[in-house]
Amino acid sequence: MIKSARLNSVGVFVCHCGINIASTVDIEEVKRQLAGYPGVEFVKDYQYMCSEPGQLLFKEACRSETVGGVVVASCSPRLHETTFRRAAAEAGMNPYRVEIANIREQCSWVHHDEKEKATIKAVDIIKSVIERSKRNESLSSVSIKTVKKVLVVGAGISGMQAALNIANSGIETYLLDREPSIGGRMAQLSETFPTLDCSQCILTPRMVEVGQNKRITLMTYSEVEEVSGYVGNFKVKVRRKAAYVDWDKCTGCGLCSEKCPKKVPSEFDRSLGRRKAIYSQFPQAVPNKTVIDRESCLYFKTGKCRLCVEACPLGAIDFEQEDRIEEIEVGAIVVATGYDLYEKEKIEEYRIGYCEDVIDGLAFERLLSSSGPTQGRVLRPSDGTVPKEVVFIQCVGSRDPDHHLPYCSRICCMYTAKHAMLYKHRVPDGQPYVFYMDIRSGGKNYEEFVQRTIEEERVLYIRGRVARLYRDGKKVVVVGADTISGKKIEIRADMVVLAMAMRPSGGIGELSKKLKIQVDQNGFLSEAHPKLRPVETLTRGVFLAGCAQAPKDITDTVSQAGAAASMVLELLSNEELTHSPTTAWVDEELCAGCGQCVAQCAYGAIELDTRRKKAHVNDILCQGCGACVAACPSAAVNQRNFSISQYYSMIESIV
């Protein structure tokens, strides 16, 4: 037990950091000036405080019990705060009585040509931290029990991968998707670059694995309705949309679809094919169940028909079904909601040329796919003839900050090369052209794939943009520029394929609000740190995977999903979650319930009790950033060991 009289005393360690600090800051002068400072018991220095001998010196001094707290004047607390706090704990001192004074990044590194001033500044920095340290309290970390279950939102390849990794590690996982089947975009693709593996052939075994995994509960045809709680203890309300088919009875035999008289364009086939009003998404769907599209169903429109009811041998059709809300509890959430394509109607200069034979890249995937509307034959949607001249246009809507989207969609160079190559395989006497800005083929075996497309498949690559498309009889005239020859080019094409920009899938904005996670200026979900925390969000317990975060290919998506899964496992590997206690707290006597702190909190950690008109900070979610402290007009919010009075004492010590 430390005697209270000593709590105000402080020991100071000054680190030389080799020459990083010592060559600019005069260490001896610093020691001399601090020696008589009120409350300072001792000042020690060492070459490298973070080294093992430095740590030993540090622990030895902590153990001597003559001080209430210690200040380490060294590099940024981001680097070694944890190191010294751990060392203090080992030496029997409360770790939250260790403070770092940053005299490297904020002093020696930026003032190396003004040594005298740098020394004065270093002393000031250390003095201010001494003042703060004197007023520190002993804190102990917060802990909370976790629910060992996980929700994965989005069941494309990234969601499936994350769910499999988590479930195979022994954790119950809910896998949710708004579509009736899992599989996502990858189920629509024909073959994958750069190996030309059939997409469905490599995907469907995974789908089956997911479907049969006992620890994965599928929640397809469902949407996230409401999310409450916090890391380790989320409560999620899930809307199970009415399929108007009792899935417990349905075996996916398809007799109902056969009999259904109503045909509508198939979303899965990008409107190139048709589906019935009662349908299953695609033959390999998991779960293999049918749904009724209420908008198109004749019975819902006219009250007559019911042919599916007659056709179903199991009596599974249920027109009375309604949406159900199901509530689940999970400890962590992975968001893997994927992408959509930018709408081609937004490209005004091409619009006058639009017809059935101008399609986007995903539609071309469906034409190439052996399970697609043409069984893999490349045929013009307008008249079913084989197109002999096909123009592929890259970067449509991408990399155009003035009119469309500023970013590179990353996969288009590769899939366009693949499209051109596969077209050439299917139509050997056809001529593919590719208009490109430049080729971005970074990735294992990617550049080689593009080179093969150009050199061996004789695909004509034209560097330049297409200015206009227009229809001329059965042809689509492509007017563009070849910037290498400097000539204007016109190609009378039979078909045009637009590599439309990728954008986050619809509804991501609302979902991000429900989860209290951030989106960037382009609508993609924001990661906590672009380099070092790429799969975490700023909201603890919510992780990202796949194209919801940024455009990426299947390889990167699967890698990221694995990383998200491992972060989830790390989080849930402990019975209890611990959390730094340097969080904000609300003095209810002063709080007027204005809610300004709630609006400032990037982590969704503050809730307003509207009945009592008091704000409340959730210790687990609070990251100790201090934004709420600054925002509170009545100084009702304070941060532990970073209180407003500590701030004032720090300021007073240096001015």
Partner: protein, 295 residues
């Protein structure tokens, strides 16, 4: 009777007088009086793109000052070129304080200054859409030439730069299609509607302009148009007067009359004629007679 201030520009007093005359007739029937500005001057015909050439901005700004003196907030313009020049000069004065001051200092003899926000420069199409209303125009239509097919040609000056465009889209505008469809006339598919006519190159690169005309008129003809409708006297000149020369050299080239927006609209709402037909290189009368628009 509504009154709107109006700036004709030089061409509408000479080779383009059918444009002005038919517009006055049209507005008369619609119940709007076009009141020509006193002492308007030539717009300068092209907006100066050199940033330090403020002298070229004086002509359009002086005309805008005349408009300000009328006390009305709008200035109606028919000619695409005048519209483009006046609109951009007005925008320059509004957004560039330094140039605004310089221009106003230079015009110290004027009774008042021009600050840019006193006058809205409105093209005929936007006036018909926003002030009169296309529905109101359509209600006045008395002749319904059921099978008349027209190619609506915008050219450049109505659309570029995008800030002055008469339509939300400068790449794929549809404001004329909207107007004429409501009036019962069918626009044809016309992908060359925003293609450049060659503009002033008609003076020194006649052959280039001829080849432009061949493509533009050729596309209209191929898509079944009986007539091309324009809003710019220079487009009109380039597309109309080139056709005989093209027809002499290109076999199978079908000539199509070119008319101003207001000429066709005036006929639709009941005008007896569309002006002086001698000003047309390709005589529109056979088509107009065939479709029952003139007697």
């Amino acid at each position: 009777m509504e009154v709107v201030s109006y700036m004709p520009g030089c061409t509408l007093k000479t080779s383009g007088r059918n444009f002005e005359k038919s517009a006055i007739t049209l507005f008369d029937i619609l119940g709007v009086t076009m009141e020509e500005l006193d002492r308007w001057v030539c717009c300068g015909t092209t907006y100066s793109l050199s940033s330090d050439n403020i002298m070229n901005q004086l002509a359009p700004v002086r005309t805008l000052l005349r408009a300000k003196e009328t006390g009305r907030r709008e200035l109606l313009v028919l000619c695409s070129m005048c519209y483009n020049t006046l609109r951009r000069a007005q925008s320059l004065v509004l957004h560039d304080k330094e140039k605004r001051d310089k221009i106003n200092e230079f015009m110290y003899r004027e009774k008042t200054t021009f600050d840019g926000d006193e006058i809205r420069v409105v093209h005929l199409l936007n006036y018909l859409k926003d002030s009169v209303g296309f529905e109101r125009v359509a209600k006045r239509v008395v002749k319904k030439p059921s099978d008349l097919k027209i190619a609506l040609y915008y050219g450049c000056m109505l659309l570029r730069p995008h800030e002055v465009s008469v339509d939300e889209s400068s790449e794929d505008p549809t404001i004329m299609e909207e107007l004429f469809s409501l009036c019962g006339v069918t626009p044809v598919y016309f992908p060359f509607k925003t293609e450049c006519c060659g503009s002033y190159q008609t003076v020194n690169q006649r052959d280039m302009v001829l080849s432009r005309a061949e493509r533009i008129v050729g596309s209209a003809a191929k898509n079944g148009a009986d007539m091309i409708v324009v809003s710019c006297p220079l487009c009109c000149h380039n597309l109309d007067s080139s056709q005989q020369r093209v027809a002499d050299t290109v076999r199978g080239f079908r000539k199509i009359p070119v008319m101003y927006i207001s000429q066709l609209l005036a006929l639709l709402v009941g005008a007896d004629d569309a002006g002086d037909y001698r000003l047309h290189s390709v005589d529109p009368r056979p088509v107009l007679k065939e479709k029952g628009l003139i007697g």
